[in-house]
């Protein structure tokens, strides 16, 4: 046990985890759930509540699915139309065998298709981690469909130093024959011990003490997919040049929320994302990568404030 502790980040204790047998009771259930078909790939989406503006919570990396928004959905569904969908590769969506099916433009296309299927013209788009890339694609290439853009711990190619996770990903296909620390971010290691990777990864995501429940949740969602699916899905994201280009084309107000102890994506990247999108940065001191799960109250309040400010900005036509 002591050895294992030393191998992971110093502040983190790896907790014994058990995946729950079935999904726990939700606070609110969707009013509408359906599966749409995008060139043969099924995309499972959900709609909750009603009210403007609608909010689209995008999926992040396929290691988890739309339940990662479980602390936001009930709060916002009381006042807004809330849309979520599962990413290709996890949850109720398909697991295509072709890596090309996992490009960011495909995820963005899924998001737009969900909006179309739900009959929603415009949404506030919220992206978490890797999901920030597809959020930028939607906001940059379809600005007329986005009223506001929120990026949480955005994983973007940037001028800033990438985090340990991206660095590890650069050796993804090299067999290091090591199943320790960030060397676990590796196709060979996943095939050997996928669960071990998932546990390790989320212990890094939630660097805050007392995060057992958040880690357990994510691990259980991680185990709803498998090593091979994630290996297939491991394709290059959008590059730094395109990030800049998309950011420059964003027309709506933007908010970036980023923990200053984020062990996956350095805080400086969030700061840069806010600059590029001419948005605001809300820094969470003492927080890790997934603040929407670990500090949901403050995140929800910040989102509410942001959404309220959109209406005002539109009313008055800015300063």
């Amino acid at each position: 046990m002591e050895d294992r502790q030393r191998r992971v980040a110093p502040a983190v204790t790896v907790v014994a985890l058990s995946s729950p047998p079935r999904e726990q009771t939700r606070a609110v259930y969707p009013d509408q759930e359906a599966i749409l078909d995008r060139a043969g790939v099924p995309v499972r989406w959900e709609s909750y509540g009603r009210g403007d503006p609608a909010i689209l919570f995008l999926p992040t990396w396929s290691i988890i699915h739309s339940r990662c928004w479980k602390q936001q959905i009930p709060d916002f569904a009381r006042r807004h139309r809330v849309l979520t969908f599962d990413p290709r590769g996890n949850g109720g969506s398909g697991r295509p065998g072709d890596p090309a099916a996992y490009g960011e433009d495909e995820f963005a296309g899924d998001g737009l298709a969900v909006m179309d299927a739900a009959g929603v013209e415009q949404t506030v788009v919220v992206g978490l981690s890797l999901g920030a890339q597809r959020a930028l694609v939607i906001a940059g290439e379809h600005p007329e469909r986005v009223r506001g853009l929120v990026l949480i711990g955005p994983l973007l190619a940037a001028d800033e130093q990438p985090g340990a996770e991206r660095e590890a990903a650069s050796r993804f296909t090299t067999d290091l024959s090591v199943d320790e620390g960030w060397d676990r971010y590796n196709a060979h290691s996943w095939r050997r011990d996928y669960r071990g990777f998932v546990v390790f990864f989320f212990s890094q995501v939630f660097s805050e003490p007392h995060s057992t429940k958040q880690i357990e949740d994510c691990v259980s969602w991680g185990l709803e997919t498998d090593a091979q699916t994630l290996i297939t899905a491991e394709v290059p994201g959008i590059n730094a040049a395109r990030v800049r280009e998309l950011c420059a084309r964003v027309r709506c107000p933007a908010l970036v929320i980023h923990g200053d102890e984020d062990a996956i994506v350095p805080h400086a990247i969030g700061v840069q994302a806010a600059k590029l999108t001419r948005g605001r940065i809300l820094s969470f001191e003492g927080s890790g990568h997934c603040v929407q799960a670990r500090d949901p109250v403050r995140v929800n309040l910040a989102l509410r404030e942001f959404i309220a400010s959109l209406a005002k900005a539109e009313e008055r036509g800015g300063l």
């Binding site: 805050e208 003490p209 007392h210 806010a274 605001r280 940065i281 809300l282 820094s283 969470f284 001191e285 003492g286 927080s287 670990r294 500090d295 403050r298 910040a302 400010s309 005002k312 009313e315 008055r316 300063l319």
Partner: protein, 690 residues
Amino acid sequence: VRLTSREPLERTRARYPDGGGYIERDGIRIAWDRYGSGGRAILLMPTWEIAYSRVWKCQVPFLARTFTVLTFDPRGNGRSDRPSAVAAYNRAERTRDALAVLDAAGVRRVTVVSWCEPGDDLALAVEHADRVEALVLIAPDLLVSETPNEDRYQRVGDWPGFARAFFADAFPEPHSTKQIEDGVGWALETDADVIQRGLEATWDNEEPHARDLLARVRCPTLVIQGSEDRIAGAARGPVVAAAIADSVLMELEGSGHGPHLRDPVRFNVVLREFVEAPAPREVRWTRARSRRKRALYVSSPIGLGHVRRDVAIADRLRELHPDLLIDWLAQDPVTAVLERRGERIHPASAQLASESAHMQAESIGHELHCFQALRRMDEILLSNFMVFYDVVQAEQYDLWIGDEAWDVDYYLHENPELKSAAYVWLTDFVGFLPMPDGGHHEAFLTADYNAEMIEHIARYPRVRDRAIFIGDPEDIVPDSFGPGLPPIRDWTEEHFSFAGYITGFNAAELADRAAIREELGYRADEQVCLVTVGGSGVGAPLLRRVIDSFGAAKQLVPQLRMIIVAGPRIDPSTLPTAEGLEIRTYVHDLYMHLAACDLAIIQGGLATAMELTAHRRPFIYFPLKHHFEQNFHVHHRLNRYRAGRRMDYDGSPPEAIAQAIAQEIGRTVNYRPVDADGAARAATAIAELL
């Protein structure tokens, strides 16, 4: 409610204009002001001729920190002209005045805020939609619904009587004496003739016209309506809001006609939110577990006694909680002491309006009517509370400590939903007491203030987590809070804990008087008389009087060495001189001199008097005239300690002072010893909250 009609001249404001002047239309001059220069622009419309731009005194200092704020005085009051033609008071002229003010200020678009307006604001928004981005209507006076008081104020008659009745009706909330007095004071700056002209002029608030305007308003509109509005009637706000397409109605339960003056905290917060300050580009939030323990200490700047005990308490508190970070929200002269100690002064402290400058402005000669001065500080207190509000909204403190922080204590009880940390109240006196020559009216006012405080505590016992009296139960005056109210001591014993007195220094360190005298250059055969009025500018007359006594005193006490300490706010060159007399601007480590002297002559402030008591030094004190705290509370406490000789400034010519010096200097005293554990006791009680 009986009201004084003689309002003393306006003295200190919380904020003065940054620009402005006069516009002239058809030969009529209209005075306007600009405050601040950033963000969106807000035009605070004057109400009808009964008052003028000062009705916004609780909003201007707060809003000007974020926005560009414009005000103007209406034709017929304030600094604007009082034309003799009735037509000059037609309400349409007011709309044109407003536009001219916007042009003069170079402001294109504004949010228009109006109080009790009969439609000028609507005309602006409808006919000049390009100039008005939003509207805020407080208690709109549009005749769109049944109202009980429609005709009551249509004839002037006795103008002061009219004004008193009007403002008593405008502020039906209990304990509104200050708001009513202010209103009457503004009303009396104009006269019945002007008001009569205003009433005869053309108003456009009749129903058909008002309905037409309301239907044409397109900008976002906030309507604020009190449920106890006896002037416009509570029903109008909802009708007005319903008739405006893009409107929000805010109903204030229990509020009268002027919520911006009677409930300024809530009003200001709502207004700022509505106008919308530009959101900061960068915000930080620290998750609860990652936060270091933090306290915000609000130390009263009136006198230096508070800060000395406050740093003693802070030191003890840090001993009990070594991880505790203390920020100070404070102002001059407190900040000077804190800076020397390297304490953390919150940057927002720079935004505080000066309370000590106000107190100085309120004093005349050796006189400070501190109860009235406190009442007349309402604008400054509110402005400073709004600074406190912004600080505690933006940053997470575990604990707020207010040492006679009247703004924090009063407005927290008026807005208890804003309490988001543990809160400690410290004071060395309880109860406002009337001066005998203030008559029934002052007795009524002090009782009203005491009653409000007692009601505050009874209704919201959760606001003060600790109330600590700096002293012992025996230090409490044997008076009552007022007719029908409890004895002060009984009530205070029930609602406070007692720390004992806190001098803020370790008396043992100053016990070796001979050594200190040598260090300070005082010879053993000298009789040193120190004359000090602390850091205030109030004390010059007393210094002059004592200087005048020096010759006679020196004859009676040949060994006399008199040192006058002018302090930072009194220019020594304005004081008379005398052969052999020493006048100093500043004395380093004054506390050591006080410990070493043979006699001190001081005002009646508690801190210096108790410091001398602790050092067992003879002293003569002159309470400031009409200063109820010095005359009653401090006097009572010093009697208990058998300390000091009280003299009254008015009845003490220089010869009498010389006689007293001769009798008191070097005298052996039998004072009651001063508690040395007060700071530790207070800190222990506070530490439990962390």
